[in-house]
Amino acid sequence: MGRYVIRRLLQMIPVFFGTTLLIFLMVNIMGDPVAGLCGDRQCDPATAAQLRKEFGLDKPVWQQYLTYMGNVFTGDFGTAFNGQPVTELMAEAFPVTIRLTIVAIFFEIVIGITLGVVTGLRRGRPVDTGVLLLTLVVIAVPTFVTGLIVQLVLGIKWGVIDPSVSSDARLDELIVPGLVLASVSLAYVTRLTRTSIAENSRSDYVRTAKAKGLPRGRVIRRHLLRNSLIPVVTFIGTDIGALMGGAIVTERIFNIHGVGYQLYQGILRQNTQTVVGFVTVLVIVFLLANLLVDLLYAVLDPRIRYA
């Protein structure tokens, strides 16, 4: 398995360079960021030239990219336009977003899989139909609608939560935003689990397990669920990256100063360093999450081995 992991890690290198180069070029195509730095007036040419020099924007793009990558390997992600090192921005934003993602994934696993198992075992019954309808609604309603309604009802009408998350972004404050963020994926997890369970519950090994006289709970947990989880795990794994990068809507609504917020600001201000830095880290997270998923297959189904 060690060799498998190393091979996978080596495969990440070209992906890593490719994505960073793409993002770098994309942000650069948007034009000269210094133009927007002076507000509604034009920067005076001398100061603008000076700023361009300071941020290395006066050099050709390929040279900027090489310098940037060179710096990244020494742990220097450059400086944002407000004078803050990008690493400092990351140190503030990533813990918050990781907490939010953990909350969201937690709900996906606990609620999604539970509902999936319950409905999968009770196909066609009222519970099944009810949950199916519910997931359909959740999938159909965009996140920002859910988010704003939840904020309005729980935050203002009932006063159960604070409508905005404080700058500490404590775990308890993130429960509701996490639930909102997880909602759509949660519905997919439910449906995936349900289908998988429904399919496997008719399989030979489940029948054998039952025939052996094993308790129902053990049959479901050790035999049925474990084998049904592979597609679900794949989905959740890829979702980690998607949640971290795509939390932008939820973060905006609930005033969470995480990765989505920083990326949004970075794009608005055409701050190449911020955008490329954050995306680079997100790419790594995504790649690692995928590796993790592949390794988990072996835990769930011992027949799958990595040489």
């Binding site: 398995m1 948007m30 034009g31 133009a35 927007g36 730095l37 002076c38 507000g39 509604d40 007036r41 034009q42 920067c43 005076d44 040419p45 001398a46 100061t47 000076q50 700023l51 300071e54 336009f81 407000n82 004078g83 400092e88 503030e92 990533f94 990781i98 907490r99 953990i102 904020q151 309005l152 935050g155 203002i156 604070d162 409508p163 905005s164 404080s166 700058s167 500490d168 972004a169 404590r170 775990l171 973060e251 905006r252 609504i253 609930f254 005033n255 969470i256 100063h257 949004y264 608005l268 201000r269 055409q270 690692l288 993790l292 390794l295 988990l296 297959y297 072996a298 835990v299 011992p302």
Partner: protein, 543 residues
């Protein structure tokens, strides 16, 4: 099974690593009522580091306004420039000024504020090497070209026009006559700086130290700035509350929601989408007062199609095709006032505001509009494209409305279309590269309440914000005369004559004056907005 156990171990390690970061903590900062009560207010992350000569937007300006006091201060109600730290600013020729400052002032770190604090700060701000975005504010001072050349390295390190006479006196020599120059000195760029700024710049930037009624207690970039009353503040405008917590919001809608839910005391930017509910939500705790901001449509005079001899007729025609009253009522819910000149109501009549100056040219009259445009040779290329940035504000809404109004007036569905640009930076970029295909959104927020500030930077030949590159000798001459005139009333009159040239040529179409809008909770009172649409924080009282 061997592979499986290994995989299990790897998975668990990752989960532990993720969970380890999930530890948070911290308590709420408690604030009592009365004199020591803390006010929480919405904020947006400043774009630039907090330095007086480097901060050119409102958000950073708010903090500077709390922690700094300069020679002059603009009256929060009238906008008039009144002496703050200045004992006297005297001149006999409108070019050589002697500035005396009051004694007994210190920075919050105990250091005395002297004439040197000002001269050093201004020299720093003007020097090209320091990349200060407000450097051009020092452009009137003699020797500016040497410290801030248009290209190449500076040949001097300090402005030759500034001289320290003694501890509390310094002189400034300007490179041209500018009678109202002392009134510009209330702008944040002219604030004094303590020695610690020059000794340890990084430390100062992380936690700025000034001489204003507040000190910056803690500053977490991107999330919160806590300002606390400075009890030893020597000035007359001491803070009436214990401090201000500026909280960064990702979205002004969330800030508004927090205000309604009682978690926030003050929102100084009511989102457009909430304007319909704001009266019902807040009643008289909603403020909507004029600010020194005017929105206009500028034209690309570098494009021959827009710079024709009869072009003024076309531009005036377009101006008359815009139904300002209807747009400010329906789209802006009366948070904008239809423009009647090229300045702002906050100047007052004595300051040069004149609601008759634009006259007919700003009145909605579709028939006259059609006629004028025909006489002027029709629309260049048969269509106007109004360029705007689509990322912030509700620019799309009003541009579409303006185009609708023009299309209806001209009876042509395709006479006007909006031309959105993705980001503000790109919008500024295209303006800088002189690529505008037609009229474009231009907004002007005054730096100081002077009619000069509404005209010279925008319409003087090659001026810093003359984005359309309009040029008119008569206008330039009148502005020069006005600046040389030592009698204020006469100077204002000359500026108004210059403004009439802008009107006759319709150098830019005035659209509307922008109001500052704010809402506050029942916990606080005595909340007002100054002419810059910034809350007057030091006067807020906690009940």
């Amino acid at each position: 099974m061997r592979g499986a156990t290994h995989a299990k171990w790897a998975a668990c390690a990752a989960v532990v690593a993720l969970a380890a970061t999930g530890c948070g903590g911290g308590g709420d900062s408690g604030g009592g009522g009365g004199e020591d009560g803390i006010v929480s207010s919405s904020w947006t992350d400043p774009q630039n580091p907090l330095e007086p000569a480097n901060t050119n937007e409102v958000q950073g300006g708010k903090v500077l306004d709390m922690i700094f006091r300069g020679l002059k201060r603009y009256d929060p109600k009238t906008g008039a420039a009144t002496d703050m730290m200045a004992e006297s600013i005297e001149t006999t020729d409108s070019m050589n000024f002697t500035i005396k400052i009051k004694s007994g002032w210190t920075f919050s770190n105990g250091e005395k504020v002297t004439a040197k604090s000002y001269v050093d700060a201004w020299n720093y701000g003007a020097n090209l090497k320091n990349n200060q975005k407000n450097a051009y504010f020092f452009g009137y001072i003699d020797g500016y070209e040497a410290v801030h050349p248009e290209s190449g390295e500076p040949s001097a390190q300090s402005l030759s026009g500034l001289k320290v006479v003694d501890d509390l006196t310094f002189t400034a020599k300007l490179s041209q006559k500018f009678s109202t120059w002392p009134d510009t000195l209330g702008y944040a760029a002219f604030a004094p700086l303590p020695q610690s700024f020059f000794d340890d710049h990084d430390a100062w930037i992380a936690k700025p130290v000034g001489n204003g009624p507040y000190t910056l207690n803690s500053y977490q970039k991107g999330s919160e700035a806590q300002l606390r009353r400075w009890d030893d503040y020597p000035g007359p405008d001491k803070a009436q509350n214990g401090g201000i917590d500026l909280k960064v919001y990702t979205d002004n809608n969330t800030a508004y929601t927090d205000l309604i839910a009682g978690n926030l005391d003050l929102v100084d930017d009511v989102p457009a989408s909430q304007l319909k509910n704001v009266q019902a939500d807040l009643g008289d705790r909603y403020i909507n007062t004029p600010a020194g901001i005017i929105q206009t449509l500028a034209f690309p005079f570098y494009d021959d199609a827009w710079n024709t001899p009869d072009g003024a007729k076309v531009r005036t025609g377009l101006s008359r095709a815009i139904n300002r009253d209807q747009i400010t009522d329906t789209i802006f819910q009366k948070t904008r006032t239809p423009a009647k000149d090229w300045t702002s109501p906050v100047l007052g009549e004595d300051g040069g505001f004149d609601d008759t100056l634009c006259g007919d040219s700003c009145d909605y009259d579709p028939a006259a509009a059609k006629k004028l445009i025909q006489e002027g040779g029709g629309l260049p290329g048969g269509q106007v494209k109004i360029t705007y940035n689509a990322d912030t504000g509700s620019h799309k809404d009003w541009v579409d409305a303006v185009c609708n109004s023009i299309n209806n007036a001209l009876g042509n569905e395709k006479a006007c279309v909006g031309n959105p640009v993705g980001t503000f930076a790109d919008f500024r970029n295209q303006i800088g590269e002189q690529k505008m295909p037609g009229p474009f959104r231009a907004g002007w927020q005054m730096d100081y309440p002077l009619i000069q500030n509404f005209l010279q930077p925008l319409y003087y030949t090659n001026a810093s914000s003359n984005d359309g590159k309009w040029s008119n000798k008569k206008f330039d001459d009148l502005v020069d005369q006005a600046n040389a005139e030592s009698d204020t009333a006469k100077a204002v009159d000359l500026f108004k004559q210059a403004e009439e040239v802008v009107r006759d040529e319709m150098a830019a179409i005035p659209l509307w004056y922008q109001n500052g809008s704010a809402g506050y909770s029942e916990r606080i009172s005595n909340v007002t907005l100054n002419p810059f649409s910034v809350p007057v924080y030091n006067e807020i009282k906690v009940n």
